[in-house]
């Protein structure tokens, strides 16, 4: 047993924290969130130069060779000081499945471009049913010569509007078991027939509707094997749920620290409000909620990094973290009172993050089913 992070991991955390704090202050976060693009190309380039885009890729793909556990720590810090942009979509939703399942040719073509910050990618899974189950995949890909023709509509595809490639999850066969006929395609976003529009939303994410109308994709752009795509999607969504949990922990910590500073400074009845026990109870509950989730995330990350099956642990981490992050922002707002309810203040950034984090990759209730199954229920 060892509950300590290594010196290198602590250094990684510190450098991310310092960099984001300096380069992406909340004034910029608000500006980026309001912009159509939703990210800063200058920061994107810089982060690539720092080696963060290829964080978990090996040297041969110009990566930085960090472990999956380190990736989890990385996103925890990215949640603490928010930095909007297609980082999650590129690194987690696309980089991981390409690294783990694509053939060597595709890997050597794509991964170095991710590492150097030249391209942005995302994955298109969800459709109208807004869930992550194989029977909901109606978008079809039909073989025609050396190509596949994709038709269908994907929803909630974050960052598709700025992506160079979209990993599209499509049905390639009607099988009794719906997961046996799903394939993952890498689609160039500029291909004729791809139509992308932003979905108007209230979080800091940039979800898109992506329409595929007779979109031609070469067969060599299949990631993994034909009809074997669901396994890849499932693995990616699980890992994404875990990394998102880490990001939410960071966000919850950020919320608590923001409120803590205020509670120490804000004076009412001639004393700092943080000296009132009613306020202290709120903070203890935040601390307890956050720290209770943190080790669930680290445990799941440690198992996943070792290549062990961690479905239950990930489900537990995601189920609880989403709930806790929302609760922590509720308490944080209670500390701030009216000022936290304004656009001018920073609290709403976390409030929004808690919503998108909780509902993406399966909310609490959808995770509970997996946990019950793992208990034999």
């Amino acid at each position: 047993m060892n509950f300590a992070l290594t010196k290198e991991q602590k250094m990684l955390q510190k450098s991310i924290r310092q960099y984001i704090k300096k380069k992406c202050p909340n004034s910029l976060v608000k500006e980026l969130a309001a912009s159509e693009k939703g990210y800063s190309p200058e920061l994107w380039k810089e982060m690539a130069e720092l080696g963060w885009m290829g964080l978990v890729f090996p040297d041969e793909y110009e990566g930085s060779n960090f472990s999956f556990f380190d990736l989890v720590l990385f996103f925890e810090e990215m949640g603490y000081n928010i930095c909007p942009g297609p980082l999650f979509s590129t690194l987690v939703l696309s980089g991981l499945p390409i690294l783990n399942y694509a053939d060597n040719k595709l890997k050597s073509e794509i991964l170095p471009q991710i590492s150097t910050g030249e391209i942005i990618l995302t994955m298109a899974v969800t459709e109208e049913n807004a869930d992550y189950i194989p029977s909901s995949i109606k978008t079809s890909a039909i073989k025609e010569g050396d190509e596949y023709i994709i038709n269908g509509t994907k929803l909630f595809v974050n960052d598709a509007h700025v992506s160079d490639y979209i990993l599209c999850v499509a049905r390639t066969d009607e099988t009794p078991n719906p997961e046996d006929g799903v394939t993952l395609f890498m689609v160039n976003a500029k291909t004729p027939g791809v139509e992308i529009s932003l979905m108007k939303n209230v979080t800091l994410e940039k979800p898109c509707e992506v329409k595929f109308e007779n979109v031609k994709v070469p067969a060599k752009n299949i990631i993994g094997k034909l009809n074997n795509g669901w396994m890849i999607v499932n693995d990616t969504i699980e890992k994404a749920a875990l990394v998102k949990s880490a990001e939410m922990i960071g966000g919850a910590r950020g919320t608590m620290d923001l409120a803590l500073q205020y509670a120490k400074e804000r004076v009412q009845f001639q004393r700092p409000i943080g000296s009132f026990q009613a306020v202290q109870q709120h903070f203890a509950n935040m601390w307890l909620g956050i720290n209770g989730c943190r080790d669930l995330v680290y445990l799941a990350a440690s198992k996943t990094a070792k290549g062990e099956h961690a479905e239950k642990e990930i489900a537990m981490a995601k189920a609880r973290t989403g709930k806790i992050f929302r609760e922590v922002t509720t308490l944080g707002h209670q500390i701030f009172g009216a000022i936290g309810y304004t656009m001018e203040h920073d609290m709403h950034l976390y409030r929004r993050q808690a919503l998108s984090g909780d509902i993406t990759f399966g909310n609490t209730y959808s995770q509970l089913d997996k946990i019950a199954v793992s208990l034999g229920l």
């Binding site: 803590l260 000296s275 203890a284």
Partner: protein, 397 residues
Amino acid sequence: MDFEFTEEELAFREEVENFARSEMPREIEEKAYLWPGGYGTLPIFEKEFEEFCRNFFLKLGKKGWLSLGWPEKYGGVNSIVKQAIVDDVLSYHRAPCAHAATSIVAPTLMRFGSDEMNNIWMPGIINGTTSFWLGYSEPDVGSDLGSVKTTAVKDGSEYVVNGQKIWSSGAHVTDYCWLLAKTDDSSKHKGMSLFIVDNNTPGVTIKPITNIAGIDSFNEVFFDDVRVPEKNLVGEKNNGFYYVMSALEHERIVIGFGTFRRILDELTQYVKEKKKAVGNTREYEEARNIIALMAIEVEVLKSFFWRTVWMMDNGHKANIEASALKLFCSELGVSLSNSAVDILGLYGQIDKGTKWTQFGGRAGIGYLDSISGPIGAGASEIQRVLIATRGLGLPRG
């Protein structure tokens, strides 16, 4: 980070598991309610189990399992992890594995007691013959322990104790009192001292109180001119309050973690059997969700528990974590009992020992007993204030 036990620890776990299977009588495992996080249904505080517990502690002493976390000099191997393994595995079987002697008295003596005192008291604690109760709370002294009114006045080579203690868990089934008494009126926190008092000293009167679950687990204890030899003063005079506070983190890792796992397992089993009997009902779907939610919380407790244990084993200060552990434990005991009665419905009210008993009759008793957790041994509100002030640096009110 590494969340796994070492090979050696796993082998030790196995050894404790085998011991529990052979030494813990099935009938007591069934009979003891032992609701997780509560204080009123612990077998060590019940007359009915007194003889069994005394014998069991002797066996644990023989194994060296009461002193695992302590230095070699005191019969230990310096492994709080191993001590926690004993807590985890034995409590799953509802077996006793720790009491005030091991979780409070010994850690305090080892740190602050004189060699002479330790030579007298430590051997009996290590081999499981000596048991203690904690003489802290009084009728007017609950969370504010600094206001103790019981006095100990020096008279020759003795102290004369007068006053009353209450909510004294297990005083009626143990041998000695670990007494906090006022020795200097001119100071509050720096005017208290700790003493060891034999229950059989003239002037000590112990009267059991029946708790909400119908069990005599605690007592009121009266001290009328009780004469205590000076050599029973622990450490230095007037330092008692400090000693009491210093020992808290040791007490707080004794949580009976296995009792939580046990209730979760039994509740899961209950739901599985119910499904077999009545099929896939709406209630079953709800029970599944309730159990999944509880499984997450038990997993959280698990990491709080082992992280705190690991910290203490590696010389990190863990008082915030220990407070959080105590707080989380108590609150989880309540939510588990709420979950159990939600799942059992009408059967939730039926006690053990009838032909209609389900879930060992523990749901209703757990519902009643669990409220002791957030009240006892430092109320939840107090733990939260400690986290907020000591942990997060908020100013004291």
